[in-house]
Symmetry: C2
C-alpha cells in the first residue's frame, strides 16, 4: 500500500521510489541500484533509507553489486546530506535529524565500513574502490592510499587485476598530483616520491636535485628538513629534537613557530636545553603581555632574576619575594624591592597586600598603618596600631580618614540617588510616550472600529503588525534600521547608539543601562558601609553611623522596589493572563500578542536590558543596633 | 450645557449635582451647601470638586456658611475617599488619582486649613468647630484640643459664646473620656486632669488618691511616673534620666523596654552611667546573638574583657587582639588566645587569617604554613616558606596537598559533569512530555477542525484556555493545586514540592534548580583552578595542569552554551515573531498567546526558574600557556 496524500506531488518517480524502498527493505541491493541508476535516483538513498540495516549488511551489498565501477559510483556520490529529509522527503516524511544524535560523520562511516567489506571480499579486485574510499573521507587519507599503492608495487600479485601503475594513475586522477607529491615526500620514502613525480608534469631537473640534496642528510635531520619543507612543524620539532648537534636550528624552529609548549616535554626536565627553551618561552610570554605566566616559566628555567622581574611587573609580590629569597637578596635589596612593590600595590588599591609588604619586607610599620587607613581597612589598621603600640595614629590618621570616608560615601550615595530618581522618572515618561505613539499609530491603522466583524479585525490587526515593524513613529522605526548586519555587530553599534540625551531613539535603553550601573555601584558598597559603620560606632560617631546606614539602607530598598518596574517584571503587569477569557475577541488577542512582540525586539535581549542586575542580598551589612527607633 | 451621554444613569440627582458644581465653580459655597444638605449629597464634594480652589477660598467658605453646626457637619463628614471618583464618578468621569501624586492626607489638609480660617474669623464663635478639627485629624490632636479648653478656662472671655465647661463637654462627646483622662494626665497638669475626671463617670475615691500620690513626687520623677503609667517609655526615659538619684530605676526602665540606643545619648560619653548602660546593652546584644555589635558596645563601655569575649565568639580576631592589647596580655596569654582563634578560623575555613594569627600571635610558623597549604593558598604558603627558609615543606606538604587538591577537583568536576548531563537530558524529556500532553489535550478540546469558521475557533480557543488551567493531565493540574494560600506560603510549599524523582509534578523545576546549583558551584571554582594550575606548572606537573584547565574550561563552555536551552532564552525560540503574519488566523494567534501564557505560571517567576545564574565571566582564570595545542 502506498502512503496516501502527497502522491500527486511526486509524479511517476513515486512508483520507482516505492519499488526501490521495497527492494532495500528486502536487501535486494542489486535490483535497487539498477533501478536507481536507471531513474537517476540519488545513491545516498541506499544508506539513508535505513543506515543501520545498510551497515550490518554491507558485505551483502558488495557481493550483490559485484562491480567496481558501480561501487565507485556509490562512493563518489556519497554526501553528508540525508536525502530522506531533503530530496525524497515526500516519500519519507521523516522529521529532520535531531541535533542530539551522535555527531558521527556519515561519509566517513560508510567509507570505512565499505572498505572493510571490500578488503574482506577481494582486495585485488576492488583496489580502485578501496583507493576511492580513502580519498573520499572528510579528511582524505592520502598517505594510506599511497602506501597501499606502494605495497602493490612491493608485493606484486599474479592475480592482480590492476597494475600498481594503473592504481597510481587512478589515484592521481582523484587527487592533485602536487598534493600527492607532498604526501609521498611526507612518508620519507624517496622511491614513492619518484613514482609519483614520474606520473606528474614536474620537471625532473627540478625535483631530482632537490631529492638528492635531501638524500644526503642523515636520519632525523633529513626527516626534519622534509617536515619543515612540508610545513609540518610539529613533526619537524620531533625530529630535530633528536639531533643534539642541531640544537640551534631546533631553537630557531621553536621561536619561529612558537612551539615552546610542544618542545619542553621533548627534553629532560632541568637539563640545560630544557632551561634554554623555557627561557625562550618566558621571553615570548613577556612579549605577549603575560608576565605572570612568564614568571612561572622562568622558574622552570631557573632564571630567578628574570622570574622576579616578571612577577614584579604583574604585582605578584608573593612570588617576587620567593625569587628574592632564591637570589639571596640582602636586607637592603629586600627593603628596596619591598618599597617598590608596596607602591605598585597601593596604586592598584591593594592596600592589604601593600601593608604586609611594607611591614614584613620594607620594614616600615608606620607606612603600613597609613596604607591600611588609606584603604579603609579600619580593623586591620587598629590591630597593627595595637600590635606596635602606635595608638597615636587613631587620633592623627584614623579618625580624620574615617570622617572623610563617611562624607565621601554619603556624597556619592546622594549623587547616585539623585540620578537614580531622575532616570527613573524620565524612563517612565519615555515609556509612556512610546506607548502613546504606538496606540496612536494603532488607531490610525483603522482598528478602532469596534463594530467591524471579527474576520476583518483579525486580518487588519495582522497586516498592521507587519507595517509597524517597518514604518512610522521615530522610535519604533529606529528598531529596524540596522537590519542586515550580523547580530554581534548590530548589538555593538546599538550599544554605542544608546544615548541618555532626551529624545534619542534608544533613550529608554540608555536609561536602563544607566540605572543598572547605579544599582551595581550601590550594591557593592555593602561591605564598605558595614566596615565604616562599625568603626564609627566604636569611636562614638553613632549618630553619623546611623545616618549612613539609614541612607544606604533606604537606597537599597528603593532599588529593590524599583527593579520590577524598571525591568518590567511580568508579575507586575498581570495583563497577559486576562487576554484569553470569555470576552476575548480575535482583535484583543492579536493586540495582546503584539504587545508581547514589542517586548521581544532584539534590543530587549541585551543582558543589561533583559535582566536586572543581581543583588548581593546575602551579604549581611546592617548593624541591628542602628536600626529603627528602638534597639 | 449639561455634559451629554451618561445623563440617563444619574436620575434627577444629575440636575442637582450640576447646579452644585456651578455654585462651587462660582464660589457660592452657601448655595452649594444648602442644596447638598437638602438633597443629601456627600459634603466631601465641596473639597473634591476642586481641592485647590477650596483651599485658597477657605476663608470665604467660612464667611459664607457662617454657621457652627454646618461647618461641623462638613468636618465630621470628611473622609479620605475622593467622591468625584467614587460616588459621583458619572458626573465627573475623572480618572482615579494617580499614585504618583504627593501622598498628602486630605482630611488633615482640610482640618488644618479650616482651623486656620476659623481662628482668623472668630475663635470664640467657632470654638466647637476648632475642637472638631483637632479631633477629626487622622492622628487626633487631643492634647491640643484639651489645651485649648484649658486656655478658655484660664482666660475667661466675656464674649464667649460657649463656656469652657460646655466646650469640654463637647470634646468628651467626640472622644472617649478615659482616653481624654490619659491625655490630660500626659500634660502633667493636675487641674486639667481633675477637670476631665469630673466630667467622667470615674469614682473620685479612685482617682483622687492616685493623683495625690503623683502630686507628692518631685519634677522629673513625677513626670517619669506619669509617662510610665501612660506607657510612654521614651518620654519616661527622658524624664528619669534627669533624676540622678533614681539611676537604678532608669536602668530597669532601659532593660525592660530595650531603650539602650535612646538612653546612651542622654548621658555623657565616657561617664560611669554611660558605661553602665553600654554594658547592659552589650549583654542584651549577646543575648540577641549579635556578638560583634556587643563587642563594639563593650568597647564604648570600656569593658575590654567582655569585648574580647564577644569578638572572640564571632571570630573577629583583629578586634580581639586589640582588646588583648588593652588588657595588657602577657606573651603566654597571647599565645593561648592566638591558638584558640586560629583553630576557630581554621574551622571556618579562613586559612589566610588563621595563618596570620598563628605566625604573629601564636608564634607557630610551621603550623601557619601547614594551615595555608590546607587552605590551598599556595603562593602565600611558598612565600612564608622562603621567608622562614623552611623550603622542606614543599616536598613534605605542598606537593602532596597539590596532588590531592588536583585529584579532588577533577573528581568533583567529573561528578558534577555527569549530573549536569543527566539532568539536562532528563529536562528535555520532561519538557517534551509536557508539551505532548498539552498538545494532546488541545487536540481533544476540539480545536483541530481547521475548517471551522474563525469566530467559533476564537471562542473555543479562549474557552479552552480557562479549562486548561484547571483540569486534566497530571503535571499541568498540579500547577493550580495550591491556589488559595498566600503567594509566599505557596512558593515555599512548592519549593519543597520540587522533587528530582522521575515523574514528580515539578520535576522540571527541580531539575532546573539542580542545574542552577551545579552551575554556581562550577562558576565559583575559577580562582581555585587558576591558583592550582599555577602552582602545578611551577612544580612541573604541566600535563595534569593542562588536563585540569581543559576539563574545567570545557565544563564552563558547556554551561555557557546550555544556559539558553535550560532557561528557554526567547532568542532561541524565535516562534513568537512568526505569530502575526499574513497567514495568521485568530486560531494560531490564540494558540501563540496560550503558549506565552504557559510561560508565566507562578512557578516560572521563582528566581531560580526565571533567570539563569549569572556567571563571573570577568574573572580571568585561564593560563594561555595551557591552551590549545600550540602556545
Amino acid at each position: 500500500q502506498m502512503p496516501r496524500g502527497n502522491l500527486e506531488t511526486i509524479h511517476p518517480r513515486a512508483l520507482v521510489l516505492s519499488a526501490v524502498r521495497r527492494n532495500l527493505d528486502e536487501l535486494r541491493f542489486l535490483e535497487a541500484m539498477t533501478a536507481m541508476r536507471r531513474h537517476r535516483i540519488n545513491m545516498n538513498l541506499i544508506y539513508d533509507h535505513n543506515p543501520d540495516k545498510f551497515l550490518t549488511n554491507v558485505q551483502l551489498f558488495v557481493q550483490q553489486i559485484n562491480n567496481v565501477s558501480h561501487i565507485n559510483l556509490f562512493l563518489t556520490d556519497l554526501q553528508e546530506e540525508d536525502v530522506t529529509c531533503t530530496m525524497y522527503t515526500a516519500a519519507y516524511n521523516r522529521s529532520p535529524v535531531t541535533e542530539d544524535s551522535e555527531q558521527t560523520n556519515k561519509v566517513d562511516t560508510v567509507c570505512d565500513a565499505l572498505r572493510k567489506a571490500l578488503l574482506q571480499e577481494d582486495e585485488n579486485k576492488y583496489i580502485l574502490c578501496i583507493l576511492t574510499s580513502y580519498v573520499k573521507k572528510s579528511t582524505p587519507e592520502l598517505e594510506e592510499a599511497l602506501l597501499l599503492v606502494r605495497s602493490l608495487r612491493d608485493n606484486p600479485n599474479k592475480n592482480a587485476v590492476i597494475s600498481p601503475a594503473d592504481a597510481l594513475k587512478y589515484l592521481l586522477f582523484l587527487v592533485d598530483v602536487n598534493e600527492m607529491f607532498d604526501v609521498a615526500l611526507g612518508t620519507y620514502d624517496f622511491d614513492l616520491v619518484l613514482m609519483v613525480a614520474e606520473k606528474s608534469q614536474k620537471d625532473p631537473k627540478e625535483y631530482i636535485p632537490f631529492l638528492n640534496s635531501l638524500r644526503r642528510l642523515e636520519g632525523s635531520y633529513q626527516h626534519y628538513t622534509i617536515d619543515k619543507y612540508l610545513k609540518r612543524y610539529s613533526r619537524a620539532l620531533q625530529n630535530i629534537s633528536k639531533c643534539p648537534d642541531h640544537f640551534d636550528e631546533c631553537l630557531t624552529l621553536i621561536s619561529d613557530h612558537h612551539l615552546y609548549r610542544e618542545a619542553l616535554p621533548l627534553f629532560t626536565l632541568g637539563s640545560d636545553k630544557y632551561k634554554e627553551i623555557a627561557k625562550l618561552y618566558g621571553k615570548y610570554l613577556i612579549e605577549k603581555k603575560k608576565p605572570e605566566e612568564a614568571g612561572l616559566v622562568y622558574v622552570k628555567a631557573e632564571e630567578w632574576q628574570l622570574a622576579l622581574d616578571a612577577f614584579k611587573s604583574c604585582s605578584n609580590w608573593r612570588q617576587a619575594f620567593c625569587m628574592a629569597a632564591k637570589l639571596k637578596y640582602n636586607r637592603e635589596n629586600e627593603v628596596d624591592l619591598g618599597q617598590k612593590l608596596a607602591n605598585q600595590l597601593r596604586n592598584n588599591k591593594k592596600y592589604m597586600d601593600a601593608a604586609i609588604v611594607l611591614e614584613e619586607y620594607a620594614n616600615d610599620t608606620e607606612e603600613a598603618i597609613v596604607c591600611l587607613i588609606e584603604g579603609c581597612h579600619w580593623e586591620e589598621a587598629l590591630r597593627r596600631m595595637y600590635k606596635h603600640t602606635r595608638m597615636d595614629f587613631i587620633e592623627t590618621n584614623l579618625k580624620p580618614a574615617m570622617v572623610e570616608n563617611y562624607e565621601s560615601l554619603l556624597e556619592s550615595l546622594e549623587t547616585m540617588r539623585v540620578d537614580f530618581d531622575k532616570y527613573r522618572k524620565r524612563l517612565k515618561v519615555v515609556r509612556e510616550e512610546k506607548e502613546r505613539e504606538r496606540l496612536e499609530f494603532q488607531e490610525s491603522g483603522g482598528i478602532n472600529d469596534a463594530d467591524a466583524d471579527l474576520f476583518s479585525d483579525a486580518s487588519s490587526a495582522t497586516g498592521e503588525s507587519i507595517q509597524s515593524s517597518k514604518s512610522s513613529s521615530s522610535q519604533s522605526s529606529a528598531y529596524s534600521r540596522s537590519t542586515g548586519r550580523t547580530s554581534r555587530n548590530r548589538r555593538k553599534a546599538e550599544q554605542k547608539k544608546w544615548k541618555l540625551k532626551e529624545g534619542s531613539p534608544y533613550e529608554d535603553f540608555a536609561l536602563m543601562a544607566a540605572l543598572s550601573k547605579i544599582i551595581t555601584a550601590v550594591d557593592i558598597m555593602r561591605d564598605e558601609v558595614r566596615g565604616l559603620v562599625k568603626v564609627m560606632i566604636q569611636f562614638n560617631s553613632d549618630k553619623e553611623a546611623s545616618k549612613l546606614q539609614e541612607t544606604f539602607g533606604g537606597f537599597l530598598s528603593l532599588i529593590d522596589t524599583s527593579i520590577p518596574s524598571i525591568w518590567m517584571d511580568d508579575s507586575e503587569e498581570g495583563e497577559e493572563s486576562v487576554v484569553l477569557g470569555p470576552h476575548a475577541t480575535a482583535n484583543t488577542i492579536a493586540q495582546a500578542v503584539q504587545r508581547g512582540q514589542n517586548l521581544t525586539t532584539k534590543e530587549k535581549l541585551d543582558p543589561i536590558i533583559k535582566n536586572a542586575p543581581s543583588l548581593h542580598k546575602d551579604i549581611k551589612w546592617k548593624l541591628s543596633m542602628l536600626e529603627g527607633a528602638k534597639s
